[in-house]
Amino acid sequence: MSAIPWIILFTPLAAAAVILFLGRFSKPLSAGLAIGSAAAVCVLSWWLFTRPDPTETIRFYWIDFGEALRIPIGVTIDHLSKVMLVVVTTIATLVFTYSVGYMKTEEGYWRYFAGLSLFLFSMLGIVLADNFVMMFIFWELVGLSSYILIGHYFKKDSAADAAKQAFIVNRIGDFGFMLGILLLWAATGTLVFSELTGRVAEFASNPVYLTVACVLVFCGTVGKSAQMPLHVWLPNSMEGPTPVSSLLHAATMVAAGVYMLARIFPILHAVPVALDVIAWVGGITCFAAALMATQQDDIKRILAYSTISQLGYMVLGVASATSADVPMFHLFTHAFFKCLLFLCAGSVIVGMHHEQNIWKMGALKNKMPFTFLAMVVGSLALSGCPLFSGYYSKDLIIGFAVVKYPFLGWLSVVTAGLTAFYTFRLIFVVFLGKPKDDHAKHAEESPLVMLVPLACLAVPAWVAGYGFVEKMFFHVTEPEHVPHILHPILLVLFAAGVLSAFALYRSAAKDPVSIPFFANRLYIDNLYSWIVRNIQDGGAMVLSWADRWIVDLLVVQVPSKLAWACGFVLRFLQIGNIQAYVFFFGAGAIGLLYFLIMK
């Protein structure tokens, strides 16, 4: 029993290793191993989900210095990790299967499946980790698998740059994360989540310290869950194959940041100022990303900005809700409907022969009816249509936010309207109107291996918010003192978003609205590339020049004079004959060298 979590954790790693060595010889072997291991892990996770929490767990000491420092490797099996295990493994199995169809004609087949299996291993490590260092280890490893998978088409400059950017931006977040871990550890002497929770109360007399530590730990989330100002890597990560965008950059990996916050929820709620910071970051991200999404033309980038926006909701939920189950509930429903939306987008992209610009699509409703239906279900869930999953989980977060942080709460209400608008803009432009390109005229529905995962995801995307599902996975309490006007306003905004999108985009051949500020992502990317080019690289160049022409000269010229002076003095020191011996040894060596080189 207690070995099951370890089997769950290491099966995908074993699959990745075998694929690394043998995958190049056989495509079915690569895919079979990856899917087989994911499915096995999925079954075990569901089984684990039905079991009561184990009382004892196995824990190793990875590094042990006794009292000074103990770094354990151990697993936590509780309600939170069990739910997350189920979500991650179920979606992974479906996306792995879908990949067989999507990647059929692509190169680097084994590399792709080895990367996916490595990702699954790393993600499960984050889910199961019972302490900060173990989580950090797997945190970095999901960064690596993301790097490998974004860079799958490494011959394309844009993909190579996006992979690099994703890794580096995540490391910037990890800089703060690690520093926060060090601060928490220095204060409490432990790294284990359950022990930390108990000891934080003792530190209540040091609110500044604890606040700084928690905000720094939150930097990890800002990087991994693409919150502002470190969100720039996520839209660029769409350079990876679409199933990767679906699994890593929408459903699971980017949610790891929210999962981490849920894991340390009791600690965070002892530090009100840190919660305020988290709420503002989440709220602003949620709104700004939605603004950017309204003016994107690439089908995957629209979805990417909507992912950032939804992650913003979850982060805001962490700060405003009374229980970690609230943001986790949205993470749960979002995982299904966002994964579904991306897989639908992948189906469209395959049907369109790898065209991603929505203004070259159009009228795909009849060509790809099944994809269209699935995508409408996903869109209704995303935009918070009543009776679809997103409606329940998102409105819950908005309710809590409006009560605790009125400004941010109402900002997130506006965002809900924007969400409906940009989501249905996508639907209307891609599936209605006239075909705008030859590919759109000849598009065909995708193969069954891709459609079955769509069907499997459409069901939870629809119903995952219903009471019976919610009770199975979560214990959510409704927020109190919510203004009665809130829900009617949300409904009106949803309708307004859909209708305005319908009016504007139903038969538009090109975008009738042009807001360069939104289309250019609020110019944040431009600002960053300016900083990297001018400050980082320019500064580095100046330093490099100084190193060669100033430091080098100073340190070479001065000591070479000094060396002669010392040598001169040395001859007059009569301590014994050792120094003289060594000096002559050195001089002889230099002489020999001179002779050999200059001859």
Binding site: F175, Q536, L554, L596
Partner: protein
């Protein structure tokens, strides 16, 4: 015969055979492989916690009146360094391309470097500790000066001047260490000197510590004495760069951990601010210089200088956690930089250039090569799973709690929140992790990713001994990275 003496003699005998005309490459390979196997046996036979810090001890008096004797002995830390030295030697010989010009001297030089490195790490008499290192430096200069590339003579001369100067300052420090001992007890025997220091028989030795720090510092390319290193590594043939950056350069830090830490702990604390400034120079200043490099070999040379900063931080913090971290990083960095220089040499061999602007897309014609380079690059930037991560994290944890705490303390009802200098240095070092990701991933992207230049479409895949040797280095880093406890346990006994 003492097992450690055997270890030193094997490469010397191999060198002798090579010089009299046996098959140079084969002899060197057999000699270094024998040594590696032998070190592994020694590690297996090393018994922890039997009260003897040094085992396999043998002593051969040379000048007994001055306390000079060829005393060899190994504890956990020396065994780790011996393992590093013998492993990197095998890899260096395996990837070496037999030159047309005087191949016998080439391989004999490699063997001499190996013997010198092994001798230095196995010596517990400071005189021989120093002499063995000198023995290894001379063939290094020869390798750069004769078989190097680019402006090899300038590089060789610069390295010679720097390293000779470093050795000279170090020598002054060691002589000083000899002279401050009480009259009649003077010796070069390290355990005896440490015994005296523990017994309070040594006077304050600030100047000696500074001489040791600068002397060893120059040898390890401590900022601002680092400018010799990138140029020398860029010019050196791959095996020489591997052996120097991977093994010999570790001598300086090993010396500081071995000599300065136990004998002058007070001086280390007293001058900690000076050292912290210099090591932050290594990490941040050299880190940014690394970012702007336009050639792979220079980039790797600077990155190796930068990484020394972390190890210095582990030394400066002077607690068991940080010193263990520093030791692990010595091992980790030695292997990863050796693998990277080996691969860099292979690229130079194939393309004749290491300029980022000319390379690109090489993962297409050489996928296995790209994979190996990727592993080595990720190991170098401290990715979890590789031993470098364990070393880095121990250094961070150790140094973050060094010094007087200035935060989390409530004084007079008010909360203090201020970082001490060790913590500021740790934060800089943490930022270094971001910097190293920037330069390493950029280099990888420019060399292996992107569109392929037609010039390189016919490049041959890495194969044969080089492929096996680098794969072995990577496997060693992975195994010790998954189970760093093995190494921590090994060096636990070294009284860090």
């Amino acid at each position: 015969m003492s097992p450690l003496l055997f270890l030193i003699l094997v490469p010397l005998v191999a060198a002798a055979f090579i010089m009299v005309g046996s098959n140079a490459r084969l002899t060197a390979l057999v000699g270094s492989a024998t040594n590696l196997a032998f070190v592994l046996i020694l590690v297996a036979f090393y018994r922890q916690g039997n009260g003897q810090p040094y085992q396999f001890v043998s002593s051969l008096p040379v000048i007994p009146s001055m306390g000079i004797s060829l005393t060899l002995g190994a504890d956990g830390l020396s065994l780790l360094m011996l393992l590093l030295a013998s492993l990197v030697t095998v890899a260096a010989v395996a990837v070496a391309k037999t030159p047309e010009k005087n191949p016998h001297l080439f391989y004999a030089s490699l063997m001499f470097i190996s013997a010198g490195g092994l001798g230095a790490f196995a010596s517990i008499n400071l005189f021989f500790f120093y002499m063995f290192h000198e023995l290894a430096l001379i063939p290094t200069f020869l390798l750069i000066g004769i078989w190097g590339s680019g402006d090899r003579q300038a590089a060789a001369w610069k390295a010679t001047i720097y390293l000779a100067l470093g050795s000279f300052v170090l020598l002054l420090g060691l002589i000083g260490l000899y002279l401050i001992q009480p009259d009649g007890m003077r010796t070069f025997d390290l355990p005896a000197i440490i015994g005296m220091a523990d017994a309070g028989l040594l006077p304050e030795g600030n100047w000696i510590y500074l001489l040791l720090l600068v002397g060893f510092g120059i040898l390890v390319s401590l900022f601002p004495f680092h400018t010799w290193a990138p140029q020398a590594y860029a010019s050196a043939p791959a095996p020489a760069a591997m052996l120097h950056a991977g093994v010999l350069k570790k001598f300086g830090l090993y010396g500081l951990i071995r000599i300065a830490a136990p004998i002058f702990p007070d001086a280390v604390v007293q001058f900690s601010n000076l050292l912290l400034v210099m090591l932050v120079g290594n990490i941040l200043y050299v880190g940014y210089v690394t970012i702007s490099q336009r050639k792979l070999d220079w980039m790797l040379g600077y990155s190796s200088v930068m990484h020394m900063g972390y190890i210095f931080l582990g030394f400066a913090a002077l607690n068991p956690v940080s010193l263990t971290g520093a030791s692990l990083m010595l091992f980790a960095h030695g292997i990863s930089i050796a693998a990277l220089f080996a691969l860099c040499g292979e690229i130079r061999e194939r393309t004749g250039t290491l300029d980022f602007a000319e390379l690109g897309g090489l993962a297409k014609p050489m996928p296995a090569f790209g994979l190996l380079f990727g592993f080595a690059a990720m190991a170098a930037i401290g990715l979890p799973g590789f031993v470098g991560f364990a070393g880095e994290i121990l250094v961070f944890f150790g140094s973050f709690v060094a010094g007087e705490p200035l935060m989390g303390v409530t004084a007079g009802g008010k909360e203090l929140f201020q970082f001490n200098n060790y913590q500021i240095a740790t934060i800089c070092a943490l930022w270094g992790v971001v910097i190293s990701a920037v330069y390493m991933l950029r280099a990888y992207r420019r060399v292996f990713f992107g569109p392929l230049n037609d010039r390189w479409s016919g490049l041959g895949e890495i194969s044969g001994p080089a492929r096996i040797a680098i794969a072995v280095l990577i496997v060693v880093m992975l195994v010790t990275g998954f189970f760093p406890g093995l190494l921590v346990k090994l060096i636990e006994s070294s009284a860090l």
